[in-house]
Symmetry: C2
Subunit: 652 residues, 2 copies
């Protein structure tokens, strides 16, 4: 089924974000790609394609390549997000714009299918000689995803044909001609799996599995390549094999290491390939890497990557709050990975993590107005130090408008415009439908193939009531086919009340398996399932091995992680302690603040201002006065100017 | 007066360290310089001098320069420490060894006085063209200090003559010939001031003041230099002016910034020059920079430098415990700076800091057996993360035996072999002696010029009783000359009892000024002054702006900062919290453990082991059981194998 066309958001929190992406991010991004925005780093990404096309058509070009070696991927990611947005709201002008970009991309493709403007314009003849640095397969992967997206959204195969030719070119090089190597930056694995899914062409899965299987078999491949190729994109390489995830064959990799985005992109492709090829050893590898992330290397916000150096995972339980990398792209990738794991195993923990990332470490990457973006997502911001101290320069006090390396904004865009794929998993069992609800949002899924529609009404993530109505297309009568609806019960909801057609279901009547509540015996043409989650405020403690969080507490409500900002708390959070047994209460929903927010007020205490002294160290224990500390959802931080922010708060 | 010859340690804590330096560090270091130690990085430092001498004598040499651009300074620092050690215990073999090194150094000096083996052997003709990177003036400064040290210790001017000729060569280049520029790594300023002190030659002070005054006047000097010179020691320069402390003229520098060692070396020279030239604006600049360090940028251990990147100061109150740089050399330099500040202003805060650094962040740089050294001195070590996570690789789990960049061990050696200079300040007032006691150690100062001897008996830093006997050389009779003894009262001692000739002095009879107790009316030929410091255990809290220490407490006793090690505490410190009102008691002195130690036992609690779970985040508050946490002095950490360590401990 094509969930892009069958699902739409109707209202609520995620719709606001999706609208922002469609109305702000996608048009803005196109202007950037066209170099029509003043005062930001020049993109030149479209112009690179024009130069490549000119070169191929006329044998020479009048300009040059400009930008990062992976500049092409910005165009691909825009195409992907813009395509999805057409499936949300058809816009003929945008369609025309997309078609003109596709036409240009096609003209920049060589006759053998090769497509990469960096090599065509800047480094002709050096194709495939720098897999470690040059992002050729990465850019190809993104364009393949765009081709599939446009095909799925609009039913047009114009870009699909281009990327099939590109994939065939890659197949020819690495399979037919047996060229050694694998991508320095994984991405193509998942792209090829999607291309296989869209076309049924098994060679694409074969190629994806090839890249997965040869990875790390020769862990010195990149070193040999860098020594023999005689040129380089970025100069010398430090030889860190973990950075490029080639230190071991993937099935032997037990810890999530290296560049976090590369890691989760790779794992996503692995999980997809494990599912499609029924490869149990690959599935087990995915599960090991999953556990490594979520049990030892993930922030409470779902962000991953503890170090700026290498934009990387570091070591178990090393989760510094001030120097967090937590790249927004890595959050997107972790959602991809979780979603693929859900295909392998219908367990709520994958949905739990997907939800944790989405509502916290991912949305924090975007300003509430959709106009500014974070690359890194710290859990602590102390103006004057954050962004200023030499080892914290990567952590910015404020979201900038655009990056020279503009990977994150289009990644958020492509995720939010295809959100239905993450909300629902649909499988067919002998012609009968099985639907898993992984995320909660106000919207509807039209399952015409099963003659049903699922409408979800909810005020999520602020409201804990989720109301599903499953209706028959054929009016008020009994349906005889077997149909399954399974709803994830979030692990944070300690007591969930579940109603069917208005009547509460006791445990006896509930079929809960691996965190999903299953409803399989639908008979009425209109069924109502309502879940009331436990929306009490939770005090969260980190595993004591996370030494950065020792003695600290964080607050969550529903899927939202909260934080304190100076803005609500007299500017200073550092002299504040949470009281020993703090009472915490939810304040009323305010639609006019922070694009609609419910704050939390919690019992705390603050060092009395007349008790402050200028000493760096003192044996005098400070005197405190009681206060109520105001918390806001983490995703909404830093929308009111530079100020202090903390997720983990010291507790007395 | 020549304090090196007039002071000696008699017993106790510091003597053990001084003996280690004389018996272990200095001979070992000489072997390193001679490339006679297997299995460590080759030094080649002596060989560089041999090559330079050969080249000058025969017009060519049979080898090459090897090592860091500042390799010469290792020889200079060894000469300085070895010279001091002769003043402690005369050793004719060592004297011969020193003389032979001096003879070689002399042979490597050019006829115009120029002395630097890197340029003589490796880069002839490029002298003085790379002041930013090449450490020429830094190496010159260290050799000048060695020349003064040998002269002061042994009364021989063989090296003094060499370094005067070198200083004259530098004077000629920068003053007579008006060459622009100033040293990238300050050191020569203080060296020239010492040379001025030893010789009375005013040109050396003039040159020191010149380097101080022109620094930062043209803040682009290094940039212009790097653009025009057409060669480089290390390749490109990032243009960070703060790193080399040339962002502003020194009198306008309000914050301690940049490379911490360069900074405190510069400030030391500035303070010395301010004292000698009675330059009030320079004194004020020193005081501003002092306040910046001790009020906002210094660890509780006295270590400085919060970032590995640039080995640098960062921002006010940014004092991370796990990624601390805290270079041992910077601790040495801060003691130099404090000591020069004491010449300008007789205030106990300078002695307080000197003591804090010495007994904590400095001695932690050396293994208790004197055979291994730390370059960085973290306040928190979590094996598995420390030294392993990519952004903590500079923080080692264990002290290595020697470094390729071997600056720290000889720096510790030269400090400990000349410790008398820091313990006592002596000034002459119209022929009468004034003596300030800044540090406490069991030893004696012979003031023959004032016909007195001061004997200090103490078990410091473990014992808080300090007993001074001031005796006349001329036997039992009254002395008519005015004599002043001023003893620092450490700020950590909240109640100090002071006895004169056995009788306690009430406040009325005490003359305390700026933290020093003054005794000026000596009449007896044998006077006894005894101070009993408050040796109670102190719970120390950091200024709340130091967010790394929020909610945490540290323990001190006397001058010692304590820490917890896993070794004494079941291997795990992360599940431990200090109780709210903790009782802390000192355990008995154990001479057989950690080279003699008194541990502390403090009320704490630990998460019950059966309450541990593998979750990364949980809403379940852990159950605790009461324990006594054992603390050891910070200087002694990591002498029993790799294990956890924490100075700042979370408190409930």
């Amino acid at each position: 089924m094509n969930i892009l066309k069958q699902y739409k958001l109707n209202d609520g929190f995620l719709l606001r974000y999706q609208n922002l992406v469609c109305n702000e991010v996608i048009p803005y991004q196109k202007k950037i790609l066209d170099d029509k925005v003043e005062g930001v780093e020049k993109s030149h990404a479209m112009e690179n394609y024009r130069q490549a096309a000119q070169l191929l058509e006329k044998g020479k070009c009048d300009g040059e390549f400009y930008g990062m070696v992976f500049q092409d991927s910005d165009v691909a990611k825009w195409l992907e997000a813009a395509s999805y947005s057409l499936s949300i709201k058809y816009d003929p002008e945008l369609k025309k714009e997309i078609d003109s970009v596709i036409e240009l991309v096609g003209r920049a493709q060589m006759s053998d299918g090769y497509l990469n403007t960096y090599f065509t314009v800047k480094e002709p003849g050096r194709q495939w000689t720098d897999l470690q640095e040059a992002h050729e397969l990465y850019c190809a992967g993104h364009m393949i995803e765009a081709g599939v997206a446009y095909y799925e959204s609009c039913g047009k195969d114009s870009l699909l044909k281009i990327v099939m030719k590109l994939a065939d070119c890659i197949y020819n090089h690495f399979i037919t001609e047996k060229a050694p190597g694998y991508p320095g930056h994984p991405e193509i694995e998942e792209a090829l799996m999607r291309l296989y899914g869209a076309t049924g062409e098994k060679r694409y899965m074969e190629l994806a599995l090839h890249f997965i299987n040869v990875r790390g078999e020769d862990s010195d491949f990149f070193m040999k390549e860098s020594q023999s190729r005689g040129w380089s994109v970025w100069g010398s390489w430090n030889g860190d094999k973990e950075y490029t995830l080639c230190h071991k064959p993937v099935r032997e990799q037990m810890d999530a290491v290296g560049h976090a985005v590369r890691a989760v992109y790779l794992y996503t492709g692995m999980a997809d390939a494990a599912y499609a090829s029924k490869d149990k050893s690959l599935e087990e590898a995915c599960l090991n890497l999953w556990k490594s992330i979520v049990n030892k290397r993930m922030y409470i916000t779902g962000s991953i990557g503890s170090a700026y150096e290498g934009e990387a995972f570091t070591k178990d339980y090393h989760l510094p709050n001030d120097s967090t990398y937590g790249e927004t792209c890595a959050s997107v990738g972790l959602i991809f990975f979780a979603n693929q794991m859900l295909r392998l195993q219908k367990k709520s923990e994958f949905g739990d993590v997907m939800e944790r990332v989405l509502y916290n470490g991912l949305l924090s990457g975007m300003e509430l107005d959709g106009k500014k973006f974070y690359y890194t997502n710290p859990l602590e911001c102390i103006p004057g130090i954050t962004g200023k101290a030499v080892n914290l320069r990567h952590v910015l006090e404020q979201r900038p408008a655009w990056f020279p390396c503009a990977c994150c904004p289009p990644n958020v865009a492509r995720l939010l415009t295809s959100i239905g794929k993450y909300i629902y998993s649909v499988e067919d069992e002998n012609g009968c439908g099985k639907v898993w609800v992984n995320l909660f949002a106000d919207g509807e899924l039209n399952l015409s193939q099963y003659k049903r529609k699922i409408i979800c009404k909810t005020k999520y993530p602020y409201g804990g009531s989720v109301n599903f109505t499953v209706t028959s297309e054929e009016g008020e009568k009994y349906l005889s086919d077997k149909f399954t609806l399974a709803v994830r019960i979030p692990s944070w909801s300690k007591k969930t009340r579940i109603y069917r057609n208005g009547k509460i279901l006791s445990d006896h009547y509930l079929n809960i398996k691996d965190g999903y509540a299953y409803f399989t015996d639908f008979f009425l043409a209109k069924e109502n399932i309502r879940l009331e989650f436990d929306m009490s405020i939770k005090k969260i403690y980190a595993n004591p091995k996370v030494y950065s969080d020792n003695g600290k507490v964080a607050f969550t409500r529903g899927p939202l992680v909260y934080c304190a900002e100076g803005f609500d708390n007299d500017g200073d959070l550092l002299s504040v302690r949470i009281r020993k047994n703090p009472h915490a209460k939810v304040l009323g929903y305010n639609p006019d603040e922070l694009s609609g927010v419910q704050k939390i007020s919690v019992w705390a205490k603050r060092i009395k201002s007349d008790d402050n002294n200028e000493c760096l160290y003192s044996d005098k224990k400070a005197a405190y006065e009681k206060i109520n500390l105001i918390l806001i959802p983490y995703y909404a931080w830093n929308n009111r100017g530079v100020n202090q922010m903390r997720v983990w708060l010291p507790q007395e």
